[in-house]
């Protein structure tokens, strides 16, 4: 009898607690998902040979890999240098703010696949570049494929 009481007290109560916590958490809203691989379109076409953006130059189709942990984002461009920049997501807006580059883009989930629309401003360059990105693969799909 004592053993059963021990078990019920030490195991039963926390089990009920877990169910309570699962209910409590259902109302929490996490950041939107933007992780994964995005196909980039930059207008005017950006070659990286001009003085505006000498550090981003592509040999392949421009792609952006976003690694997401909550609102914290790590952007990896597939340029020759494989440039990595930290950024964040707030609401539906992604942003990077560094000395090299500023990026601001809005997420559009109404269209499928998801789109990003915004602009990139490079340092010492007065004209911003327009950016459109189409989601190729989510982070989940990427993990599974690996």
């Amino acid at each position: 009898m004592k053993a059963i009481l021990h078990y019920l007290f030490l195991v039963g109560i926390p089990v009920l607690g877990v169910f309570g916590l699962l209910q409590m958490g259902k109302g929490i809203t996490p950041p939107v998902s933007v992780g994964g691989t995005w196909l980039l379109e930059i207008t005017p076409p950006f070659t990286g040979e001009d003085t505006c953006g000498h550090f981003l130059s592509w040999s392949d189709k421009p792609r952006l890999m976003i690694s997401q942990s909550g609102p914290h984002l790590l952007f990896t461009f597939n340029d020759k240098e494989r440039t990595q920049l930290a950024g964040k997501v707030e609401g539906q807006t992604l942003s990077i703010s560094t000395a090299k580059l500023n990026l601001k883009a809005a997420l559009d989930r109404q269209v499928k696949p998801d789109r990003l629309r915004g602009e990139i401003t490079l340092n010492h360059c007065s004209t911003p570049l327009m950016l459109t990105a189409t989601r190729e693969m989510t982070l989940k799909e990427r993990s599974r494929n690996h």
């Binding site: 053993a3 021990h6 078990y7 030490l10 195991v11 926390p14 089990v15 607690g17 877990v18 916590l21 699962l22 409590m24 958490g25 259902k26 929490i28 809203t29 996490p30 950041p31 939107v32 998902s33 933007v34 992780g35 690694s67 997401q68 942990s69 909550g70 609102p71 914290h72 790590l74 930290a86 989510t138 982070l139 989940k140 993990s143 599974r144 690996h146």
Partner: protein, 428 residues
Amino acid sequence: MPHLTTLLIQIGVILVVARIIGWVFRKIHQPQVMGEMVAGILLGPSLLGWVAPDVSAALFPPESLGFLNALSQVGLLLFMFLIGLEFDPKILRGQGHTALVTSHVSIIAPFFLGTLLALYLYPRLSDDSVTFTSFALFMGIAMSITAFPVLARILTERNMLRGRVGTVAIACAAVDDVTGWCILAGVVLVVRATEGTVPLWLTLFGSAVYIVVMLFGVRRALRGLEVIYQRRGKISQDMMALIFLLVLASGLVTEWLGIHALFGAFLLGVIMPKQHTFVHSLTEKMEYIAVVLLLPLFFAFTGLRTSIGLVSGAEMWFYCGLIMLVAIAGKFGGSTLAARATGMPWRAASTIGVLMNTRGLMELVVLNIGLDIGVLSPALFTMMVIMALVTTFMTSPLLQWVYFRSFLPYELATSESDGVVTGHSVHL
């Protein structure tokens, strides 16, 4: 470089680094496997990719990682079979109440705290592609794992399996293993069901049928292997081939059902005949391939997915510290309190707590599943890997302090008077 050349070089480098670091860790009284886990991290972006990015890119080009992953998964499948094979219900004999209560509390206490922590971490380290239920359940189970093989190795090396604390700890870890993997199977099922990968009814019905067939059909048939072994005195190549086939088939069924191939391999191991020499012989044949050759590949693959650079800034390190605190409080605290509640003295109970807090490579297995099914974000995965390494590393020094300096003289005295000397051999 052609893929085969790359793969062969990768395996060579991984083996060399794993053996060297493993040796260094043995010198500082840590289990070999702890060194191999650290070796994997060192080969990833956290060290090699950071100090020599060109070497890292040449050695582990992204397009080659699929091959490395496939090999490491086969190794893991064999390893999980060996873990199941190690499970012997005889361990529980005479430990029933203490082992069951301590083990289940050592699961539910960190599970509860992990779920509680999920309330805080979900909006900070996850996103809306993961439901709160999936995230919280996974945080719970990731906090609850105990590394049976590492624990068994520590107890064997320190000759603790002949005392009361050692036998209770090994029994608890065995119950933990089976319970933990069953819960994990359930969690994976819930996560995959929310994604609609496999219909829930099919997974539930299929899993029930599979378990019944395994426990009541395949288990009986497997006894024939033991009979043949006893008659011939050795495990033949044909028998080995049959066992490999059964591991693959069982893994295939559970993967197809949506609860991951590793559960199939584990369950097959659990239902294998437990005659001592048969288990010993089978383990010996398999462990050189699974443990010495393929498991370091799994650690390296885990290391390649772990980037300590993602845990940057005070905020991220605060989350990491919090995860560690919750993991230790749940596992060490829960096990200690439960062992004490079942009548063990405080010093013995805290020794059980220290031992159960060992997470080791089993935690890495769980975390990789979490990353694969998309429940864990890359930064959270890294934080949890750090937690697994820290909790495993701290076991040996804490054990030295709590058990050998404080409790051993007391246990020796009581063991002599009570006649508590039990023997359980650990093969892995």
